[in-house]
């Protein structure tokens, strides 16, 4: 009995956490699909203004309208499903979103660096932006020891300057040069 008690407690707390996660998940779906329904509805109306053709029964807007109408129906179907899940699950524990964000900190960190890199490519040029991105991303992802740092530096140079050379001189494709070109 005593050996079962902690596991039962764990299972019970897991169930509460699962129910909370399910509710949060359902809410996220309701928000996303709700936004998509509004967006697709608006685009459906906009597609109606596209010109018809004298030469064919379907104009430029017909196919997109068909697709958008189906999308609205499907999204409403998903919302109906998720609404049932949302109502059926108990409310989420406080701090669930904060914990989720903290658990995904590394993914969001890499995403932020990647976004800065994308903006940096035209501003700094491919070589410099890639060098900075590769160095910072490898550091963020846990490269710490001297040997790993040396390897990270070689990788950063190879996949920034090396890749640029390969494309420029071998494939004759010029990657963005930037002001330091």
């Amino acid at each position: 009995m005593s050996s079962q008690a902690p596991s039962q407690q764990t299972r019970s707390s897991d169930r509460v956490a699962d129910a909370g996660t399910r509710r949060a998940n359902a809410l996220a779906h309701l928000l996303l699909n709700g936004v998509l329904v509004v967006l697709f509805g608006a685009l459906f109306i906009k597609a109606g203004a596209l010109p018809a053709s004298m030469w064919e029964p379907l104009g430029a807007g017909s196919f997109p309208r068909l697709v958008l109408a189906v999308l609205v129906v499907i999204n409403l179907g998903i919302m109906a499903q998720e609404w049932r899940h949302f109502r059926g699950a108990s409310s989420a524990e406080p701090g669930l979103v904060r914990r989720w964000l903290w658990r995904h900190r590394l993914a969001f960190g890499v995403l932020a660096l990647f976004a800065l890199y994308i903006v940096g490519v035209p501003a700094l040029g491919f070589r410099l932006a890639s060098l900075l991105f590769l160095t910072l991303a490898q550091l963020a992802l846990g490269v710490r020891r001297p040997r790993s740092l040396a390897i990270a530096a070689v990788i950063a140079v190879t996949f920034s300057f090396g890749l640029d050379w390969l494309f420029r001189d071998v494939f004759i494709i010029s990657l963005p040069r930037g002001p330091f070109g």
Partner: protein, 500 residues
């Protein structure tokens, strides 16, 4: 025929031709193993190098890149979960879970053998049946094309993910994304909102890289503990046993032949190609399997079906090109261009006027399939070293390669902004359990679907023709069956879960 065959072989089996073919195979495998580099790009880059070669040497080299490319897509699909090309989307369904469960060597070896047998079957069919198959393929009108797309979309929506509704939603979203930009019939700008970025629509390759690569790579680094302690993508001792994999592949002969035949036929349909063939072959294998519930968890049947299906399209694509002068895909169009550069006219008279060249091409397909097998078996241990690389290195490096792939496609900065946007959207969708494969398929097939729907109704306003033309009706019935099959499967699954 025999005379032309021997003349073709005589020209083909020379040292310079075989040497350039071997280089072509290596280039094709490497190019399509890199996310963002398609077979089309590899072939386009090869084209200028063939200008100074003899016609057969030039086209054989390009065929080597082509066949090598279909096998190379397997590498990133299995090891990274990122399809190197659209034709390896279905390979990610089982090869990636298999690699993740500690068997990357088995996943790659199965894929290599399946690719080899697929290419072999397609080359044999090409030699025997090119003209009659081309006549069947050309009978498909706009109605049949549209119905084929509907079938492909329902198949992919029912195959992936836990919810068919979500699969359909992402598939339809892909179709909508494909409508952005210039209308394919009248050139009217649609949903561009005066943004230059949207004027030419969404390039499907950028969508493919963003959706699969960026979202997959971000998921790789979600676990901070594992990533920061230098964990590899696939934490396992890598064993590569090609002979065991050959024996295992041959235990599924029907799957292998059926998937290859699907590949050849879909390849012969102009415009369809490997992106549909691998999914249809996978779908057929799942339906015929005694254990369909294991599909998507790392079953060898799934890997074999997808890889033999996509490799077989390489031979199928040549059928309409050689017999009718219609390229089956963008790659076939580049192959056609290379022949035209040498002053060789493409069309029904090609086989009559240049029999030695045509049979030389057929033999080149066979030779390329053998070369790919040898190159892959020898180099795969090297590729498997990827699994030793820690995530802290591979994730940033592949992200940089994605940027290069997205930019190099059209030399447009706006494409890399698009890559970021699509990547973030793909990440959100994957976090909410939306399958991503239907979205990419929708983007690829959207213009074909719209053009053929409008062309069909332009030819005859009677929409019942979609249901009265036999091939079109068969495809629509198959689409309905695939939806019904998926719904029945889900209901059974739910019932067994409730019982448990």
């Amino acid at each position: 025929m025999t005379e032309a065959l021997f003349a073709g072989m005589d020209q083909l089996f020379t040292l310079p031709t075989m040497a350039t073919m071997l280089l072509g195979v290596v280039a094709g495998v490497i190019a399509s193993a890199i996310p963002g580099f398609t077979i089309t790009m590899a072939i386009v880059l090869t084209l200028p190098l063939t200008f100074t070669m003899d016609p057969l040497q030039g086209v054989a080299t390009m065929l080597a890149v082509y066949v090598g490319g279909y096998s190379g897509g397997l590498i990133s699909a299995a090891l990274l979960g990122i399809p190197g090309t659209p034709s390896s989307v279905a390979t990610t369904f089982d090869a990636f879970p298999m690699a993740r469960s500690g068997q990357p060597g088995r996943a790659l070896a199965l894929g290599i053998w399946a690719s080899f047998f697929g290419a072999l079957v397609s080359a044999i069919i090409l030699i025997i049946a090119a003209p009659p198959l081309a006549m069947i393929a050309v009978k498909l009108g706009a109605w049949e094309y549209f119905s084929l797309i509907i079938f492909a979309m329902t198949v992919v929506a029912s195959l992936v993910g836990k919810s068919m509704l979500k699969g359909l939603m992402t598939g339809m979203l892909g179709l909508f994304i494909a409508t952005v930009g210039a209308d394919p019939m009248m050139g009217v700008a649609r949903f561009t909102f005066d943004f230059d970025l949207l004027a030419n629509g969404f390039p499907f390759l950028v969508v493919l890289i963003g959706i699969f690569a960026v979202s997959q790579l971000l998921q790789e680094v979600e676990d901070a503990e594992q990533t920061q302690h230098g964990k590899q993508l696939i934490p396992a001792n890598v064993a590569f046993k090609p002979l065991d994999a050959l024996r295992e592949t041959l235990t599924y002969p029907i799957n292998l032949i059926r998937s290859s035949l699907v590949g050849v036929f879909i390849g012969a349909v102009p415009g369809a190609g490997g992106s549909i063939a691998n999914l249809l072959a996978y779908d057929q294998a799942k339906r015929a399997s005694k254990t369909p519930e294991t599909f998507g968890t790392g079953t060898p049947e799934g890997v074999i079906a997808s890889e033999s299906g996509n490799s077989a399209t390489s031979g199928g694509g040549l059928i309409p090109m050689i017999a009718l002068g219609i390229p089956g895909s963008a790659v076939d169009a580049v192959l056609m261009a290379s022949l035209m550069v040498h002053g060789i006219g493409i069309g029904p008279r090609l086989i009559l006027d240049h029999g030695d060249l045509v049979y030389g091409m057929f033999m080149a397909m066979l030779l390329a399939a053998f070369m790919v097998l040898v190159v892959c078996l020898f180099s795969m241990r090297l590729f498997l070293r990827v699994t030793d690389v820690p995530r802290s290195v591979i994730v940033p490096v592949v992200l940089v390669c994605c940027v290069v792939g997205a930019f190099a496609l059209n030399n447009r900065i706006t494409d890399i902004y698009l890559l970021l946007g699509v990547g973030i959207f793909g990440y959100i969708l994957s976090k909410l359990d939306y399958p991503l494969a239907p979205l990419v398929l929708g983007v690829i097939l959207g213009p074909i679907a719209e053009t053929n729907l409008r062309r069909a109704l332009m030819t005859d306003e009677d929409w019942t023709l979609f249901f009265t033309r036999p091939i079109s009706l068969t495809l629509l019935i198959l689409a309905a069956v695939s939806v019904a099959f998926a719904i029945r499967h889900r209901l059974r699954q739910r019932r067994s879960e409730q019982t448990a």
